[in-house]
């Protein structure tokens, strides 16, 4: 399998992972808003920490994409 084909498959997989993480973050935000309006403050910080963790995963995957491109171009 050529590197280009591998890259296409890899990026499709990364895109699915990132999209799933964003959907999870959206759900966390919905839960947080509901908790905030309901006066249940204990769940807010863990939800925010979870969301930040997902952001870190997404940022890591994006960084991987950039590095992959750079390596392919031989820079």
């Amino acid at each position: 399998m050529s590197i280009r084909t591998q890259g296409t498959t890899l990026f499709a997989a990364i895109l699915v992972l990132v999209a799933s993480a964003v959907v999870l973050q959206l759900w966390l935000l919905t839960v947080s808003m509901e908790a905030l309006l309901g006066g249940e403050y204990k769940t807010l910080a863990p939800a925010a920490a979870g969301s930040t963790l997902l952001l870190a995963v997404n940022a890591g995957l994006l960084r991987y994409v950039f590095r992959f491109d750079r390596d392919i171009r031989g820079e």
Partner: protein, 172 residues
Amino acid sequence: MSSETEVKGCAGCPRSAKWQRDFPIEWDGDHYVTRREMVKFLTLGSLLLASANWITVVASKLLHRGSKAESNIGSVSDLDRNGSMLFRYPTEQDPCIAVRTPEGKVVAYSQVCTHLSCAVVYDKSEGGFFCPCHHGVFNLQGQPVAGPPTRPLPRLTIEQRGDQLYATGMEA
């Protein structure tokens, strides 16, 4: 289908409604969003969502700060054993209810029912709080025991100094 009957740059798209001719779409350009661009876009969205989550944490701290004020709510002698007293805390818009239990302990809760915000009243005979709107019942610990409410009444911390009672905070 011949190329004459297709929209330029969109194989299989039939040519021709008038609006399509009036407002042509550059399908090639429209479809050209690479996976890399999509990942970048989603990561930016992810950053915004994480920020929004932290904003809810900050908002909760700000809302909570208002309930740290200290307020004199009356004297112990105002409260009969197994009796109740209404007061406002932390602002004039927040009705609360204090109860002296049959054991002599003073407890206080927000008077706003966690179901649909009606005012709960103390039910001496049952030893709990009753919401007349939808027949919700809370026990003396503020926990819902019957009816539609599912969340407990917010509890106030009460300090007794001599004969005087002070509300010093509201628990979430």
